[in-house]
C-alpha cells in the first residue's frame, strides 16, 4: 500500500492514546456482580453508598465491517461505450471503527476521547483498472478536555458554517463558557488522498487516457485554517465563522459564515445561515428555515434558499469566474401520523434559476409500520423532479420485515420515467433485496443483491456479503 506513511503520521496521536487506553479497564475499579436476591430477601436498597469515590466510567466502542463483492455485471460501459472485459475478482473491503469517550485524565474526569476510522480494500486478482491494495484513514484523533477548554489533535473534520465540510490533519482548539464558545483550527487538507499519484482520477487506466498527466500535489501548499465564535442557550444560538483553504498556494475558498437559530416556542424552531464568499464579496448561499409541530402528530417544515453555485467552486477553477448566476429555492415538508401504523409525508420545492428556467421537485409518501417484536415497514413514494432540460417521475416501494428475532429482510423497487430519453431510453428500474442474520449478539451478516436495467446498463446485477462484528456487545459498552 503506497499511502501508509502519511496516514500513520496523522494517526500518531491516536496510537498513543489507544495505548494509554488499553490499560484503563485494568485500572478501573472492579464492581463485583452481586448474586441474585432470593425470595423474601432484603431489597438491594439497603446496600447504599458503600463507595466514596466514583469509578472511572468510560465508553469503548469498536466495530469491524467486512464487505465481499460476490458478483457484478454491466455496472457501466467503458470508454465511449466500449464493452468492459470480464474480470474474475472478489474484492474485499474492510472498515474499522473504534472510539473511546469519557476517559478520566489525571487533571479531570471524562477528559479524554479517542476516535479512529479507516478502510482498506484488497483486489486479489489482476485488474486493468484497479489497484491491488487501496485504503485510507478517515479519522484518527484524540480529544482532550481541560476546564472550559478542549483540543483535538490528528486527522479530523470541521463541519458547518464557513467550513461547510473539510478534513484535515492538524489541531482544533476550543473554549466555551457561560454559553459563549470560540474555536480555531488549522492543518493540512486531507483531500485528495495523499501518497497516491493522481488519486482523484480513480485508477491507473483512467490516468493513461488523460491528455495532461496529473502531477503529484505538494502537500505543504494545501492547507486550511479557520475558526468560529458563537453563543448558545436553550432558546437561541448562533455563530460567526471564517474558513480559508489554500490549494497549490492559491486561495481555494475564503468564506465567512453566519448561522443563527432559535426556538421561540416549544413546538417550533427557526434558523438561518449565510455564506459570504470574500474574494468576490457575494453570497454563495443564504438559507432560512422553520420547523414546527403544531400538533403532536403533525410536523411542518418550510425553507428558502438562495445559492450561487459558481462561488462554491474552488477559486483556482477557471470556470469559477464565468458566471454569477444563482437560483432561488422555496418549499417545505409536511408529515402527519394519522394512525399508529400510518404516517403520510409530502414535500415540495420550487426552483427559479436566474436568466431563465425553473424547476420543481416533490414527493408524496405513505409509511406503514406495525409490529413491536417483529416490526414490519412498508413505504410507498411517488416523486417528481423537473430540471431545466430534463426531469423524471419516480416510484419507490420499500418493505422490511423481521422474520424472526435474528432474521430480517428488505425489498425495494424503484422505477424511473424520464421526460426526455437518455441514451435512447426513457425508463429505468432497480430492484434491491437484503437479508440480515444476527449470528451472535456481536456478529451480524448481511447479504444484498440488486438487478437493474437503465440507459447505461442493459442488465446490471450485483450481489454482496457484509459481515459486521462489534467489539463491544449491546449493553456492555460501558465499563463500570
Amino acid at each position: 500500500m503506497r499511502r501508509v506513511g502519511r496516514p500513520l503520521l496523522a494517526s500518531a496521536p491516536s496510537v498513543v492514546a489507544w495505548s494509554l487506553l488499553a490499560v484503563r479497564p485494568v485500572a478501573a475499579q472492579d464492581v463485583s456482580v452481586a448474586p441474585a436476591p432470593k425470595q423474601g430477601s432484603t431489597p438491594p436498597a439497603a446496600k447504599q453508598g458503600s463507595t466514596s469515590e466514583r469509578p472511572d466510567r468510560f465508553t469503548v466502542l469498536g466495530q469491524s465491517e467486512t464487505y465481499v463483492s460476490l458478483y457484478r455485471q454491466a455496472l457501466l460501459p467503458g470508454q465511449n461505450g466500449a464493452q468492459v472485459p470480464t474480470e474474475t475478482a472478489v474484492p474485499v473491503h474492510e472498515y474499522l471503527f473504534a472510539n473511546a469517550r469519557d476517559v478520566d485524565a489525571p487533571w479531570q474526569k471524562d477528559a479524554i476521547g479517542v476516535e479512529f476510522a479507516a478502510w482498506g480494500r484488497l483486489w486479489p486478482t489482476e485488474s486493468s483498472s484497479e489497484r491491488p491494495f487501496d485504503g485510507d484513514v478517515q479519522t484518527a484523533n484524540v480529544r482532550l478536555d481541560a476546564g472550559p477548554g478542549w483540543a483535538r489533535l490528528g486527522r479530523q473534520q470541521v463541519a458547518g458554517g464557513a467550513a461547510r465540510f473539510a478534513r484535515f490533519d492538524g489541531a482544533t482548539l476550543g473554549v466555551s463558557h457561560l454559553g459563549f464558545f470560540a474555536e480555531g483550527y488549522g492543518g493540512f487538507t486531507v483531500l485528495p488522498r495523499w501518497n497516491a499519484t493522481a488519486y482523484q482520477k480513480l485508477g491507473k487506466e483512467e490516468d493513461t487516457l488523460l491528455t495532461v498527466p496529473p502531477v503529484q500535489p505538494e502537500r505543504s501548499s494545501h492547507w486550511l485554517a479557520g475558526g468560529r465564535v458563537g453563543y448558545k442557550t436553550t432558546r437561541v444560538s448562533g455563530s460567526l465563522s471564517f474558513h480559508e483553504q489554500r490549494t497549490e498556494g492559491g486561495v481555494d475558498h475564503r468564506l465567512l459564515g453566519l448561522d443563527v437559530g432559535g426556538q421561540p416556542m416549544d413546538r417550533a424552531s427557526v434558523g438561518g445561515s449565510a455564506l459570504l464568499e470574500l474574494d468576490t464579496g457575494r453570497f454563495a448561499t443564504g438559507r432560512i428555515w422553520i420547523d414546527a409541530a403544531p400538533h403532536r402528530l403533525i410536523d411542518l417544515g418550510a425553507e428558502y434558499l438562495h445559492a450561487e453555485p459558481a462561488l462554491l467552486l474552488s477559486r483556482q477553477s477557471v470556470l469559477s469566474v464565468f458566471t454569477t448566476n444563482g437560483y432561488e429555492e422555496v418549499g417545505g415538508t409536511v408529515a402527519a401520523r394519522i394512525a399508529t401504523f400510518l404516517r403520510l409525508e409530502a414535500g415540495g420545492y420550487l426552483e427559479a434559476y436566474e436568466d431563465n428556467g425553473s424547476g420543481e421537485r416533490g414527493e408524496v409518501a405513505a409509511r406503514f409500520a406495525w409490529g413491536r417484536t417483529r416490526p414490519t415497514l412498508v413505504r410507498l413514494a411517488l416523486s417528481r423532479v423537473m430540471a431545466p432540460e430534463n426531469g423524471y417521475r419516480a416510484m419507490r416501494a420499500s418493505f422490511s420485515h423481521a422474520l424472526t428475532s435474528r432474521l430480517g429482510a428488505t425489498l425495494e423497487a424503484y422505477g424511473y420515467f424520464y421526460d426526455q430519453p437518455i441514451a435512447g431510453f426513457t425508463t429505468s428500474s432497480v430492484y434491491v433485496g437484503t437479508a440480515t442474520y444476527k449470528i451472535l449478539d456481536r456478529l451480524d451478516a448481511l447479504w444484498s443483491a440488486s438487478v437493474a436495467r437503465s440507459p447505461y446498463a442493459a442488465f446490471d446485477a450485483q450481489t454482496m456479503l457484509r459481515v459486521t462484528y462489534r467489539f463491544d456487545g449491546p449493553g456492555r459498552a460501558r465499563f463500570q
Partner: protein, 353 residues
C-alpha cells in the same frame, strides 16, 4: 433481454411485492405479544400467610445489581418455582421490553436509597401496575427530580444514555431528526461548539460515512438495508445524476469537488481532459462565427458547475483557448463580477498573463 420483456418482469416483481405485503399485513394480528402481568404478581397472589408463599416484590425477580439490562430480567428458573407451565413462562420472558432510547445507565441502588423513593420501584416504573403506561419511565420522570437543565440545553445525552444505543436512536424532542432536518443539519451543527450537541451522540466517522467521497464503497452500498434513510444516491442515481445536478447544482458541491465528476467522466470518454473524447454537446454548441447560436455561453452562465465537471483542468481548460485576453471568445466575466485577486495572481495569469 428486450425492453418489453423487461417491463413484464418488472410488473411481475411489483405484483409479487404487493402479494408479499398483503400476506404480511394479513398476519399482523399476531404481532403484539402479551405484556407481563406485573400487577397480578405483585398484588393478586395470596401470600405472606401460613401455608402461602412469601410475597413477591420487584427484587424477587429482578437482579438490580447486574449492569446489563438482559441480566436484570429474571431467569425462567425463577418462574418455575411457582409455575407448572414452564413453556409459557419462557415465552413471556422472551419478550423483552422495548427500549426506544436504548439502555439507560442508572444506579438503581442509589436511587432506591433516596428519601423521595424509599426503596419503592413503582414511583418511577408506574407502568408495571398501570397497563396504560409503559413499564419504563419517560424522560420527564427523570427530570422530575434531577436537575439536568445544563445538559439538556447543550444536548449532552451521555452518560445517562449509552453512546452505542444513541447511534440508532433519533431524539424525540427539540433535536428530533425529522422533516427537513437533513437539509439543514449543517446549519444546526454550526450553532453549537463542535464538542457538544451532535458529537454527544455521533462520531466523526459517522459524518464521513456520507461525506467522505474518497471511500471506495458509498454509504448506499454499505447500508442497503436502511430503506428509510435519506441517502441521495439510492436507486438509479447514475442515470439521474445529471438531472439532479441541474436541479440543485449547489448540493453536489456539499461533498464533491469537480475532480469527483471528472474521474468518472474521463473513464467514460466524455471529459475534455482525455484524448479523443466523445462530444456530448448538441449541434451549434460552439459556433465558429457571430451568427451561431453559441448555446454553450448561456449554459455556462446558468450552470457552470456542470461545465466544470468535465472542463476543469486549470491552465489546460479548453475555455481559455477562446476566452483569454486577446482571443476571439470575448470577456467571459459576467456583469457585476469582481475579485480581490490581482491579475498577477497565478490563476488570473492563465488568461491575463
Amino acid at each position: 433481454m428486450s425492453e418489453r420483456r423487461f417491463h413484464s418482469v418488472s410488473a411481475t416483481l411489483v405484483l409479487w411485492l404487493a402479494v408479499v405485503l398483503a400476506a404480511v399485513a394479513a398476519c399482523r394480528s399476531d404481532a403484539e405479544p402479551a405484556r407481563f402481568p406485573h400487577r397480578v404478581h405483585l398484588a393478586g397472589i395470596p401470600c405472606g400467610t401460613p401455608g402461602k408463599p412469601a410475597c413477591l416484590s420487584c427484587v424477587s425477580c429482578h437482579d438490580l445489581a447486574r449492569h446489563d439490562s438482559g441480566d436484570r430480567l429474571p431467569d425462567a428458573a425463577v418462574c418455575d418455582g411457582c409455575h407448572q407451565d414452564a413453556h409459557k413462562s419462557r415465552a413471556i420472558l422472551a419478550v423483552a421490553p422495548v427500549r426506544p432510547s436504548g439502555e439507560i445507565t442508572i444506579d438503581h441502588d442509589k436511587h432506591l436509597a433516596m428519601p423521595e423513593i424509599r426503596g419503592q420501584c413503582v414511583p418511577c416504573h408506574a407502568g408495571v401496575v398501570d397497563p396504560k403506561r409503559s413499564p419504563l419511565p419517560p424522560m420527564s420522570t427523570c427530570f422530575g427530580c434531577h436537575e439536568h437543565a445544563e445538559q439538556w440545553a447543550k444536548g449532552v445525552c451521555t452518560p445517562c444514555h449509552d453512546a452505542e444505543a444513541l447511534r440508532h436512536t433519533m431524539p424525540v424532542t427539540f433535536l428530533r431528526h425529522d422533516n427537513a432536518f437533513l437539509r439543514h443539519h449543517g446549519d444546526t451543527m454550526a450553532q453549537s461548539p463542535q464538542a457538544q450537541l451532535c458529537q454527544s451522540c455521533h462520531t466523526q466517522a459517522q459524518c464521513q460515512s456520507c461525506h467522505d467521497v474518497t471511500q471506495d464503497l458509498t454509504v448506499e452500498k454499505r447500508r442497503p438495508e436502511r430503506i428509510e434513510s435519506g441517502q441521495v444516491h439510492r436507486g438509479d442515481f447514475m442515470v439521474r445524476h445529471a438531472i439532479e445536478a441541474r436541479s440543485e447544482p449547489a448540493k453536489c458541491l456539499s461533498c464533491h469537488t469537480v475532480d469527483t465528476c471528472d474521474s468518472c467522466h474521463a473513464a467514460r470518454g466524455v471529459s475534455a481532459n482525455v484524448a479523443n473524447p466523445s462530444n456530448p454537446h448538441p449541434p451549434e454548441w460552439i459556433g465558429n462565427n457571430t451568427s451561431s447560436p453559441n448555446f454553450h455561453g448561456t449554459a455556462a452562465r446558468r450552470d457552470v458547475v456542470s461545465c466544470a465537471a468535465c472542463h476543469e483542468a486549470g491552465p489546460a481548460t479548453n475555455c481559455i483557448r477562446c476566452h483569454k485576453v486577446g482571443a476571439y471568445g470575448g470577456n467571459p466575466h459576467p456583469r457585476g463580477w469582481k475579485s480581490s485577486q490581482s491579475e498577477s495572481s497565478e490563476m488570473c495569469r492563465y488568461c491575463h498573463g
